[in-house]
């Protein structure tokens, strides 16, 4: 699999570390009030996944290259990258 780094272009998968699904983190309202914190949202964020068979927006780190984090969309059935949207 070759991964399109927005900085270095397509490079071998071995140069990258995976950062998982690109999720948006729930907003924590301050000051934190534990009993009324939205547990369900945080549980969703930490543990539940869409896990699609198809387009998946995910994070990559070009560890053995430019050391940039970026988001990309990939088809999880074919490993084709669908866009090189930067993050």
């Amino acid at each position: 699999m070759r991964i399109p780094c927005p900085c270095c272009g397509p490079r071998a998968m071995a140069e990258f570390s995976y950062g998982g699904a690109d999720l948006s983190r729930p907003v924590a309202s301050l000051p934190l009030d534990a009993p009324s914190a939205p547990d369900a949202e945080w549980n969703d964020y930490v543990y539940r996944r869409d896990n699609p068979a198809g387009a998946h927006r995910e994070l990559w780190f070009h560890a053995a290259g430019c050391r940039r984090w970026f988001a990309a969309r990939r088809d999880t059935r074919t490993n084709d990258f669908l866009s090189e949207a930067g993050a």
Binding site: M13, Y18, D39, R48, N51, A53, N79
Partner: protein
Amino acid sequence: MTGYSALSLARQALTGHRSWPAAWRAPEPRARYQVVIIGGGGHGLATAYYLAKTYGITDVAVLEKGWIGGGNTGRNTAIVRSNYLLTANSHFYEHSLKLWEGLSADLNFNVMFSQRGMVNIAHSNAELSALHRRGNAMRLNGVDAELLSREDLGRLMPGLDLSPQARFPILGGLIQKRGGTARHDAVAWGYARAADTRGVDIIQNCEVTALRREGDRVTGVETTRGLISADKVAICVAGDSGRLAAMAGLRLPMESHVLQALVSEPVKPMLDVVAVSGALHVYINQSDKGELVMGGDIDGSNSYAQRGDPHTLDHVVESAVALFPSIRRLRMMRSWGGTVDMSMDGSPIITRLPLAGLYLNGGWCYGGFKGTPAAGTALAHLVATDQPHPVATRFTLERFDAGDLLDERGSGSSPWMH
């Protein structure tokens, strides 16, 4: 069905083995069953078998989109062990191992369970302490475990590089002597034949495409071979769990990833235990045909592709050669991948789902083959009684909401780290 025995073998030999009856029927799906099981891997077939055998529920169909055992059951490296640290996992996998010990006789099918011993190798003091801790935990849970010195390791595995110049010098190890391997296909076939004999319909080339529901109850499944109604539907689809859950409008604490394995050309016997090195991320054993079977970590990124990247295989081979330098000129014959159902804490899920009558068995990660007999037992119990089986009470979905995780590796909700 004719039982398999030395006598039946001799009798069939007289006619050149041409008159063996089919091991299971190929029935047309009926319009309605009491229980429909989605997925004809080891887990689905075992569930059907125990539903029939233990609970007398025989109005059961197993629906398989391809051929039985064609998923992870037929792709795995067949290691069976119960060397877990956490109590809940320890009890579950030990229950499973005990079922393995009687499985060939129970199914009247040789699953070639070989208790050749499962050896974990330590390359640092920290790893050695972790193995001591694990060994102690196992013994407290009634599971066999013995510590091994470097000399013990050398006697068990003459090919192992024990020299101080090794890439990662070896300090000691831990063995579970009752661990070993089994024949993966035979497990699917044995359960299929035994379930079929008790009246279960095994329906291949039948993909479930949607779930039917009425209100908050599941009423059946839509398939490529028509609509099939059922009182209860159990999902046993490993890497496809997320797809099936989506049909019920649910999101699971699970991701699908690819795990690869490979085998070498066959050679004379050189390794008669299963060897694992956590530090090198590799495991290796020798099949009865003489091939060295090896594997390592999942590739790391979500995947349904059933194939992976060569750099993972490079790593496996480099690590195997670091352990056993004499294999460095062996040629690798085949590699393959399977879509594994990685749960967010690395432990399985056997549960009722919010839709009444719907059950899920998944989250087996890279280690569900060894769990096949116990998973079938536990899911059959749950489907039949609506109560969790005593050895599987912790394998819930609620544990993720309660923060009550079963994280053997302590690596958090990042499946690619498990």
